[in-house]
């Protein structure tokens, strides 16, 4: 989810317009905010009775009255994803932006001369050019979700694994087992499972990395 959004933001901020550097600077705020504070921000924002976001969405008719997004077994994970989106989309946007800097302008210009629409240019020129970056970003977001401490911080802060065990992700489970529940051996086992999955991701990423350079 963070990847397409990051791409959209990057394409937009790659255009020339007044206030572009301000918009780019704004991206630094979610990027530098501590994950636990990001959790806190949305914990207040989505508070069922007085959170401004909940209220606004209620008014728009999207949420039922005093809706508890983090207390709902089916939607809690989705709510957490929104928080993590806010925190991580800027990073992806920056990675795409730095790739877009190297976009060959001649290719774009010449296809425009031949009468290609902007959408065609995007699909036939920009997207193939960005493909390696896209792949790297996808893997990176996989790693972030799986093994980044960011997802962990957000879960600890907002739901603590609840309601019930609905937001116990592998990573969080490993931590909980090892530390508060004092079962170091079992926790270590879980962490090895996470490691194996992460190593698979890492090998794919390394392959892509060497292909790109």
């Amino acid at each position: 989810m963070g990847v397409p959004l990051g791409l959209g933001i990057a394409l937009l901020l790659n255009e020339e317009f007044r206030g572009r550097s301000f918009a780019r600077a704004c991206l630094l705020i979610p990027w530098s905010t501590p994950p636990i504070v990001a959790a806190l921000i949305f914990f207040i924002g989505f508070n069922p009775s007085f959170g401004p976001f909940t209220y606004a969405l209620e008014r728009l008719g999207i949420f039922p009255h005093q809706f508890r997004i983090f207390g709902n077994p089916d939607l809690a994970l989705f709510g957490l994803a929104v928080v993590s989106l806010w925190k991580s989309a800027p990073l992806f946007a920056f990675i795409f932006l730095s790739a877009l800097q190297n976009l060959p302008i001649e290719a774009v210009e010449s296809s425009k001369v031949y009468g290609a629409s902007s959408f065609m240019v995007f699909r036939k020129v920009t997207l193939p050019f960005l493909k390696p970056t896209l792949a790297v970003n996808c893997i990176l977001s996989g790693i972030l979700a799986l093994s980044g401490t960011q997802a962990f911080d957000i879960i600890v802060g907002i739901t603590g694994g609840g309601p019930g065990y609905h937001t116990y992700m592998l990573y969080y489970l490993g931590y909980m087992t090892a530390f508060p529940w004092d079962n170091l051996g079992y926790g270590a086992t879980i962490s090895y499972i996470v490691t194996i999955i992460a190593v698979v991701f890492a090998m794919v990423l390394l392959r892509l990395w060497y292909k790109r350079v």
């Binding site: 937009l12 255009e15 317009f17 206030g19 572009r20 550097s21 301000f22 918009a23 600077a25 704004c26 991206l27 630094l28 705020i29 979610p30 530098s32 905010t33 501590p34 994950p35 636990i36 504070v37 990001a38 806190l40 921000i41 949305f42 207040i44 009775s49 007085f50 401004p52 976001f53 209220y55 606004a56 806010w86 920056f94 990675i95 932006l97 730095s98 800097q101 902007s118 790693i143 093994s147 980044g148 401490t149 962990f152 911080d153 600890v156 907002i158 990573y171 490993g174 931590y175 090892a178 530390f179 270590a188 962490s191 090895y192 490691t195 992460a198 190593v199 991701f201 890492a202 390394l206």
Partner: protein, 275 residues
């Protein structure tokens, strides 16, 4: 011409959406922290009604002892970690980027693989080994824990940054009688100031923002800031305005750092310091 006008409008609307998306949550939290608990907890919420603003929650937080200790400890650890990462990282990266020695590629691959390891996998070994060394719950131990996580990535970045400096420059320095250290610190680092600054900011922000290690490596003596925020959120009675004030204050150093150095950071990212 008409079409480009439509396009301009679309760009501005998009830009405003991006700015709202990134700023609104943060600004709402600032407003939350400025309200009184009574106003905050009654419906409808702030932007939809007028409220009186006060600085009460800030005065409370600033005089709240665990918070100020946490702030101080976090600052000490973040500065120590940044210094250590910069020193060790630049020495290691210089060696890999410049000196040919057997096992250089292997070493590089190991660095990348270690970076990919989930920090959970590192957490248990780190805690156990710090305990054996007897530096669990000390500043040094916390610095090592943060550095172990940060060093591989930062060294990786630094290798790329140093490799962008032509090798001839080192050669020239060496001929002029500089030692390796001298040519690293006198020539290569000043030439790559921008990238170096990026690494500094990255290390500081990551060390400051860490929660998991702060919670497990620091127990009694070392109390970092982020776990205090967690305590605010999971307490029996949640004081929302004070919690918001604590959150804003604890993110202030890193957000301010990012905004003050925004030009350099964005330029650095654009140059591909972060790939």
């Amino acid at each position: 011409m008409g079409k480009s006008r439509v396009k301009r409008a679309a760009i501005y609307i998009g830009a405003i959406a991006v700015v709202l998306f990134t700023l609104a949550p943060y600004i709402l939290t600032i407003f939350t922290s400025l309200q009184r608990e009574v106003d905050l907890t009654s419906r409808p919420p702030f932007p939809f009604k007028s409220v009186t603003f006060t600085l009460d929650s800030y005065t409370y937080i600033l005089s709240y002892e665990p918070f100020s200790t946490g702030f101080l400890h976090s600052a000490i650890v973040a500065v120590m970690t940044t210094a250590f990462v910069l020193l060790a990282g630049s020495l290691g990266a210089y060696a890999i980027a410049r000196i040919r020695f057997p096992g250089r590629n292997l070493l590089f691959n190991i660095i990348v693989i270690v970076y990919m390891l989930p920090s959970l996998a590192m957490l248990i070994p780190i805690v156990v080994s710090l305990k054996i060394l007897g530096i669990l719950d000390t500043f040094i131990g916390m610095m090592f824990a943060h550095s172990i996580i940060l060093l591989p990535l930062m060294t990786w970045f630094l290798i790329g940054i140093f490799a962008s400096v032509p090798g001839d420059i080192d050669e020239a320095c060496r001929i002029d009688g500089y030692s390796r250290f001298k040519s690293l610190f006198k020539m290569v680092i000043p030439l790559t100031k921008l990238g170096f600054l990026m690494i500094l900011v990255f290390s500081f922000i990551n060390s400051w923002n860490d929660l998991m290690f702060a919670n497990t490596v620091g127990l009694v003596k070392i109390k970092l800031l982020q776990p205090r925020i967690l305590e605010f959120m999971s307490g029996a009675r949640v004081l929302y305005t004070q919690m918001a004030a604590a959150g804003i204050l604890s993110s202030l150093p890193v957000v301010a750092l990012a905004l003050v150095l925004q030009k350099q950071i964005i330029k650095g990212i654009m140059r591909g310091a972060v790939k």
